[in-house]
């Protein structure tokens, strides 16, 4: 039996039977939802250039697996087609973001924001907006102060490093030579280390960043 489009009661009944693990209902619901999920992933992948989402079919299946798990665990209750689609979109988002996280190690974040234009990373604002843990936020703010006290060139290379850019990435984006960026980065980080001491960062926050004890007291 195929649930006609737009027949909300029939769809509700189908979801209900699937929640009770009726195999036929699960299969029918799966086939009903799959094109929607796949289409959304496909379009979003194209719009956002999700080069890291290499297997669309696998991603679609992951979304549906998560959906059915949520259905069985009572984390989703049918309240209309609109809500069902919204839940599927959110689930697709989490699935896609997990794939993005796995690929993140290979990527640096570009400083240039295609949609907003211009450089988009403000380390001070980032530090000020750190989460609720006051100690951690203060540590980030100390770091931000140390970074912003650097001269312009050193500050830029530190911010780029903070965003995961390697020397070759910085070379590509700034037009400097590799030797120039290397020297700048080395001097910038040595300078930063000194300023972190001056800000009291090493004493207050060294442990949080794995620099407790010997390193923290050395200065």
């Amino acid at each position: 039996m195929t649930v006609p489009e737009g027949n909300d009661d029939a769809l509700a009944a189908l979801v209900g039977r699937a929640r009770e693990r009726d195999p036929a209902a699960e299969a029918e619901l799966h086939d009903r939802l799959r094109p929607f999920v796949r289409r959304r992933l496909e379009e979003a992948r194209a719009r956002r250039n999700w080069f890291w989402l290499t297997d669309l079919e696998e991603a679609t299946q992951d979304v549906l697996t998560s959906f059915f798990a949520a259905l069985r665990e009572g984390k989703f209750a049918y309240e209309g087609d609109q809500r069902l689609r919204g839940f599927l979109v959110r689930t697709a988002w989490f699935t896609a973001m997990n794939a993005k996280d796995r690929a993140a190690r290979e990527r640096a974040v570009s400083l240039f924001d295609e949609e907003e234009g211009g450089l988009r990373f403000d380390v001070a604002a980032f530090a000020a907006a750190a989460p609720d843990d006051l100690a951690r936020r203060e540590c980030l703010e100390l770091l931000a102060r140390a970074i912003t006290s650097l001269n312009e060139n050193r500050r830029e290379v530190v911010e780029r490093t903070l965003l995961g850019q390697k020397v070759r990435d910085i070379v590509g984006e700034t037009g400097r030579t590799s030797a120039s960026v290397s020297g700048l980065k080395f001097n910038a980080l040595v300078d930063l280390r000194r300023r972190l001491d001056e800000e009291g960062f090493m004493d207050e926050c060294g442990e949080l960043f794995g620099l407790a004890g010997e390193a923290a007291s050395r200065g």
Binding site: R39, R40, L41, E42, E43, A44, A46, R47, R48, N49, W50, V89, R90, A92, W93, F94, A96, M97, K100, D101, A104, A108, V109, D113, E115, R120, F121, A125, F126, A128, A129, A130, P131, D132, R136, L140, L143, V158, T161, L162, L163, G164, K166, V167, S178, A179, S182, G183, F186, L189, V190, L192, R193, R194, L196, F201, L208, F209, L211, A215
Partner: protein, 244 residues
Amino acid sequence: MAEERDDLEGLELPQAPDPAASRAYREAARVLRGAAPAARRWCPPRGELVLAAAELGRERAGRRDAHVAACPLCRDDLRDLGALEAEPSPSLVARLRATLRLVVDEAARAVRVIDASLPGAPAPALAPVRGAGADPLAVVAAPFGDGSLEVAWVAAGRGADLRTRATGGAPTEYRVDLGPAPPDPDAPDAEPEVWESRASDPAGAVALAGLEPGRYRLAVYAPSQREPALEVVVDLARVDAKSM
């Protein structure tokens, strides 16, 4: 630690730095790694990014919003969500592949369809157009968006002119790429060669003139699509009076 060794190995320095400076460098590098947005240590859980302020509480929502404004990675995530939430382009047949064999009858100044494979499309129609100066043409149509894309071939000398036209509810904005056909139609090139790329005019039409006999790949892209909605491998042959 491997990461610490890599920190200095990636640098092109004129001479080895002294140990104290090296140590300072490594310690600063470690701090930056820990503080990096990419480490996501400072980002709220993703679920929190999408909660309404009422669900999160005003103060927490305020901090969440401030973080999003400052964090390029969280903003990136939310744009990804926006792309998923957006209604798709008018329903397109994803990567509809077709083959088309045509022959140009030079003597008759006509193009004929020998064989066409367009799953789900209406049967190919020969639609001779009678009018001042119009040549008989061969037309096939394929589903495209909410309508169809007509692909018409008009005899032109030894070869043919190609015209595409969006009809019905098909998007009038699209792009046509023309290039050599892949050697194996069942294993198309990962990055096919493109000889000509044309955008449709405001009326939803594209014209490519003077195609010599040969094998072509015709790909049609809708707006914002990186994959073609329609791919046709065209085998254009020529028949002249002698061969007939």
